[in-house]
């Protein structure tokens, strides 16, 4: 066994100060493929890591988790090598552990508040979550999920991203007859089109979606709700008793600078959707074409920007550079993603924003004109606002630009459901506790309510809405 000691429980355990490392594909190798970067823990390492957990009487880590997983519970089972129990505990809270273990920002949530982290490194909760999910998919140790007797009530879930999958899974377990509608040809939402293969293999996502289906959820793809059926029609002639809207924040935000429609400028959504959903990286085996630059500029500092720039390297870019208008500390991307990007050779230029994209005579990108920024007073997000340094403009050369400066809520459902009350940002207003919108029986959650946020916060919203829908239909 790796780590400290032998199989017999030592009388006094010495604290292992650091997380057990997780091996990864070396940077030089991985930038030439789309395979997943970290390999995950093996059994021995996972058990040793689980034994680092102090099993606190008052586990604050649970408060740090948007889906309230019994973290010490599943970790204790791993420490005792009872993997069936570990996955049972995990799945009683979380329908998508293989996803969460890979893409959650644990460093800002459960691991941030871990008591060990006060003196040492926190328990590697995310890695253990991934371990137990992958172990179960490989060995099939989980006992069958308990499903309540049927309630004979139909619920429609619109959007099969993290919020929709969570709400659908939870409601199916409560005994509801759930139909999950997806606009694309495959379920998963942003997990499918947005997050690259090297961070979340689509085979893993397929397994998670299959698990949700195994709970009795019917998935209907190719259905653009709002266009093919309105929410009113779902609740009317289609006889659903409640509906949940989890259609995300899928609309790209542009920089609104000249030259943005030149050829070679992509929204992050287009760049990533062509590659992740349509698998353009396997063109011509797959039909969807893509044009990939050699000298790539990505605008933005979030996870989507990191995904875009790392994807560019894998698509053959010789240089790939992030341009971000604030400083390094203000970047919203996960530390792990920034770290991986750096290892792979991504360059960063901070406190800089494009004034225009420059084109060739025939309409292709040839560079950008940028302006230096400095940080002023904090804005409503609490981060210091970037302020232009006039006269600092300069030009750089590049042949491709990816715009990853955020997204807007998808308007198709609000536009076709005029009764829905919206905020001034176009997001749907809901009751925070139940997730109910201004329309009786219609609930919403995830990015369509919050604007662009994280996978796990959307899952938390899906979970709350499932409870809200259950309470509403129980009283109805």
């Amino acid at each position: 066994m790796a780590g400290n000691g032998n199989n017999e429980k030592p009388a006094k355990k010495k604290v292992v100060e650091k997380k057990y490392p997780m091996s990864e594909q070396p940077p030089a190798e991985r930038i030439r493929n789309f395979n997943e970067v970290p390999y995950g823990y093996d059994v021995e390492t996972a058990v040793e890591e689980a034994r680092r957990c102090l099993q606190c009487k008052k586990p604050v880590c649970i408060d740090g988790c948007p889906v309230e997983i019994d973290i010490p519970g599943f970790i204790e089972a791993i420490a005792e090598e009872d993997f069936a129990e570990a996955i049972r505990v995990m799945k009683s809270f979380n329908n998508l552990p293989a996803v969460c273990g890979r893409v959650c920002p644990q460093e800002d949530q459960c691991e941030k508040v871990c008591v060990l982290a006060k003196k040492f490194e926190s328990v590697a909760i995310g890695r253990l979550e991934r371990f137990i999910a992958d172990y179960d998919y490989e060995h099939g140790v989980a006992p069958p999920t308990e499903i309540a007797p049927t309630k004979g009530k139909k619920v429609a879930i619109v959007g099969s991203g993290p919020a929709g999958l969570t709400a659908a899974g939870d409601l199916a377990r409560m005994g509801y007859d759930v139909t999950l509608y997806e606009a694309f040809h495959a379920a998963g939402g942003v997990l499918r089109y947005g997050i690259p293969e090297f961070r979340l293999p689509k085979a893993i996502l397929d397994q998670e979606v299959d698990y949700v289906k195994s709970l009795g959820v019917k998935v209907e793809c190719n259905m653009v709700i709002g266009k093919v059926f309105t929410i009113k029609e779902l609740l009317g002639e289609l006889e659903f008793e409640a509906a949940f809207i989890g259609t995300g924040a899928g609309l790209p935000r542009w920089m609104k600078v000249p030259g943005e429609n030149l050829i070679g400028v992509y929204s992050a959504n287009e760049w990533l959707t062509r590659i992740n959903l349509m698998r353009a990286f396997e063109f011509p085996e797959y039909d969807t074409p893509i044009w990939a630059g050699k000298n790539v500029a990505v605008i933005g500092g979030g996870n989507t920007a990191m995904d875009s720039v790392r994807t560019a390297l894998r698509m053959g870019a010789e240089t790939a550079k992030i341009y971000y208008r604030r400083g390094e500390k203000e970047m919203p991307a996960r530390i792990e993603e920034i770290h991986h990007a750096r290892e792979e050779g991504v360059q960063f230029d901070f406190l800089v924003a494009p004034d225009r994209v420059l084109g060739t005579d025939d309409g292709w990108v040839r560079g950008m004109e940028l302006c230096r920024m400095e940080l002023g007073e904090p804005d409503e997000s609490g981060r210091r606002r970037p302020v232009r340094c006039e006269g600092s403009q300069f030009e750089v050369e590049c042949d491709m630009v990816v715009v990853a400066v955020g997204t807007y809520p998808n308007p198709i459902i609000p536009e076709t459901t005029p009764e829905l009350e919206l905020t001034k940002w176009g997001t749907i207003k809901v009751d925070e506790e139940t997730g109910m919108t201004s329309v009786q029986g219609v609930f919403a959650g995830g990015d369509i309510v919050t604007g662009g946020a994280t996978v796990i916060s959307a899952m938390g919203a899906g979970k709350r809405a499932a409870r809200g829908i259950d309470a509403y239909l129980t009283d109805k």
Partner: protein
Amino acid sequence: MAYKILARDDITSESVRMVVAAPHIARKCEPGQFIILRLDGKGERIPLTIADFDRDAGTVTIIFQKVGKTTYHLATFREGDEISDFVGPLGRHLDLGRLGTVACLGGGLGVAPIYPKVRALKAGGNYVVSIIGARRKDLVILEEEMRAHSDELFVTTDDGSYGLRGFVTDQLKLLLDEGRKFDTCLAVGPIPMMEAVCRLTAQHDLPTLVSLDTIMVDGTGMCGSCRVTVGGETKFTCVDGPVFDGHNVDWVETKRRQCRYVPQEKQALERFEKDRGSK
């Protein structure tokens, strides 16, 4: 769920008509809207105009020209075969209402998307003057259908093998020069044709609507692949269109963006033809 092809016929040597079972879409779609299809698990998503629909039968009719890998591949599908994915109705439904006298120009395969609009205009009490064009007589499509729903119908061919020798714009110019008055013009066809129509109608202050067929991925406003500049503003063809004020479209940019995958499209088609040849 896959989508079954109920009927299929070659309407010219270059174009095919298919009737597809898609009851949800047939129930809801309106003239001018489109669908996006994907043939199989490795396919690309391409938009095609809804050329016709039958709400009772639950069918949607598409007409397409064999131009690239996907359309050549789709042309090999027979009655009873299934299309993996078929999504819609997409795009804005444009209620044309009562406009008066309307010139409806369809160039090449553009006749297919203009046909449902002609039908709706005629049913809405407008006086419809249709002009349809093709390269040669045998490539003219939907002539009888168009004639049945137009007050007047003119045909042009590039080589003069049928109707007026020339383009649809030449016919429209003749009518305008004769002093014929129109309240609105609708033009659908290849970009150079729509651009030429707009150049002509601008000289006559004739409001002109065009329907764009840009490169799309999702078709729901997510990616921006289909963006065009209209009146100085960026618009998405999939959710803001596909119909726009033709006099405000930036045609130079639209043409360039439409050609951006030409080398890949060529490669994919060559590969498809080679694969078929070896079978």
